[in-house]
Symmetry: C2
Amino acid sequence: MYSFEETLQLIGSEIEHIDWNKEPRGLYEPIEYVLSLGGKRIRPAVTLMACNLFSDNVMQAMNSAIGLEIFHNFTLLHDDIMDRANIRRGKPTVHKKWDDNTAILSGDVMQIEAYKWMTRSPETKLKQILELFSKTAAEICEGQQYDMEFEKRDNVTVDEYIEMIRLKTAVLIAAGCQIGAWIGGADDEDAQNLYDFGNNIGLAFQLKDDLLDVYGNEANFGKKIGGDILCNKKTFLLIHAMQMAEGSNAEELNYWLKNTNSEESCQKIKAVTELYNRLSVKDICEEAIKHYCDKAVASFSHVRIPDVKKSELRKFSEKLMSRND
Amino acid sequence: MYSFEETLQLIGSEIEHIDWNKEPRGLYEPIEYVLSLGGKRIRPAVTLMACNLFSDNVMQAMNSAIGLEIFHNFTLLHDDIMDRANIRRGKPTVHKKWDDNTAILSGDVMQIEAYKWMTRSPETKLKQILELFSKTAAEICEGQQYDMEFEKRDNVTVDEYIEMIRLKTAVLIAAGCQIGAWIGGADDEDAQNLYDFGNNIGLAFQLKDDLLDVYGNEANFGKKIGGDILCNKKTFLLIHAMQMAEGSNAEELNYWLKNTNSEESCQKIKAVTELYNRLSVKDICEEAIKHYCDKAVASFSHVRIPDVKKSELRKFSEKLMSRND
C-alpha cells in the first residue's frame, strides 16, 4: 500500500515527464505552463488511492488519474478567460500571458489530451469509465454556467448554490474515486459508496475554500484573503448573510455590496467579515462542512474492505479539511 | 445499399431528433442552434458510406458519424470566436447572438457531447476509434493554430499551407472514412486506403472552397464572394500570387493588400481577381484540385470490394467537387 505522500510523488513524477514538446509550440506551451503551476492534485490522488483500496497495482489507474488532472486544469484555463482572472496560483493566467485565442485553443486541445489519457484506461472497463467521465465533464460545464448565471441574479438559494458547487467541484473528485475503485476491482456498490464519499468530500472542500477566502491565513491559503468579498462573489457565506441580515445589518451589507471603490477595499473586507461574524454565517458554514464530512465518512465506512486499508485515503481527506485556518 | 441522398436523410433525421432540451438552457440552446443551421454533413456522410462499402448495417456507424459532425460544428463555433466572424451559414454566430463566454462554454460542452457519441461506437472497436478520433481532433486544433499564425506571417509557403488545410479540414473527413470502414468490417489496408481517399478529397474540397470564394456564384456558394480577398486571407491563390507577382503586378498586389478602405471593397475584389487571372493562379489551383482528386481516386481504386458497391461514395465526392463554379 502506498502512503498518500508516496501517491502524490508518483503523480508529480508522471505529470513532470509528460512530453509537451510538440508543434505548433504556441498550442502546447500553455498546457505545459498550466500543469507546471502545481495544485493539490486532489483528483489523481483520490483516483490512485481508491484503486489502492482494492489492488496493489495502483499504476493501472495512473492514465485515468492523469486524464482527470489534465481535464481539471483545462477547466481552470477556460474558467479564467470567462471570469477575466489575471492570476492563478500566483502566476499570470494563460490569456494574460498569451492572449484569449491562445487560451481558448490550448484549452480545447487540453480537453482532447485529457480524453487521450482517459482512453488509455484498462480496456475491459473503458466504456464505463468514459461514460462516467463524459457525464462528469458535462456536469462541470453546467456548474460553470450556473456559477456565471448566479452572478447576475439576486435570489440564489443555498440549495442552488450547493448544487452548483457539486457540479463545478465535487463530481470530478467523486468520479476519480469511482473510476479508481472500478480499476482496482471494486464491485458496483463499493464503487458507488466511493463516489458518494468523493462527492461529499468535494462539497466540504469547496465550502472550506469559501471559508478560507474570508478567514484563512494568506501565506498558507495561497491567494489574497477577501477576494470573494471584494467581487461580491455569491458564496455560501454571502448567500446566507443576504438571507439573514435585517434592519441595520441589511442596510450595511447592501451599502458594501454597492461599494466597489478600490480605495476602500480594506474597509469593505473588514466590515463584511464583521457582518458575517455578527450573523453567525461562519458557524453555519463550519456546520455545513461538518455535515458533508460526516456524510463522506458514513459512505466510506460502508466500503467493504478492512479498516487498515482505508487509512491513507482517510488521512488525505482529513488533511484537505484541516487546511490552515 | 443506401444512395448518398438516403444516407444524408438518415443523418438529417438523426441530428434533428437529438434532445438538447437540458438544463441550464444557456448552455445547451447554442448547441441546438449551431446544429440546426445545416451544413453539408460531409463527415457523417462519408462515415456511413464507408461503412456501407463493407456492411449493409450502416446504422452501426451512426453514433460515430454524429459524434464527428458534432465535433466539426464545435470547431466552427470556437473558430468563429477566434476569427471574430459574425455570420455563419447566413445567421449570426453564437458569440454574436449570445456572447463570448457562452460561445466558449457551449463549445466546451459540445466537444464533450461529441465524445459521448463517439463512446457509443461498437465496443469491440471502441479503443482504436477513440484513439484515431482524439489524434484527429488534436490535429484540427493544430491546423487552426497554424492558420492563425499564418495570418501574422508574410512568408508562408504553399507546402505549409497545404499541411495547414490538411490538419484543419482533411483529417476529419479522412478519419470519418477510416472509422466507417472499420465499423463495417474493413481490414487495416482497406481502412487505410479509405483514410487516404478522405484525406485527398478533403484537400481538394478546401482548395475548391478557396477557388469558389473568388470565382463562385454567390447564391450557390452561400457566402459573399471575395471575402478572402477583402481580409487578405492567405489562401492557396494569394500565396501563389505573392510568390509569382513581379514588377507592376507585385506593386499592384501590395497596394491592394495594404488597402483596407471598406469603400473600395468592390474595386479591391475586382483588381485582385484580375491579378489572379493574369498570374494564372486560378489554373494552378484547378490543377492542384485535380491532382488531389486523382490521388483520392487512386486510393479508392485499391479498396478491394466490387466496383458496383463504390458508386455512391464516388458520386458523393464528385458532387462535392463539381460545386457550382
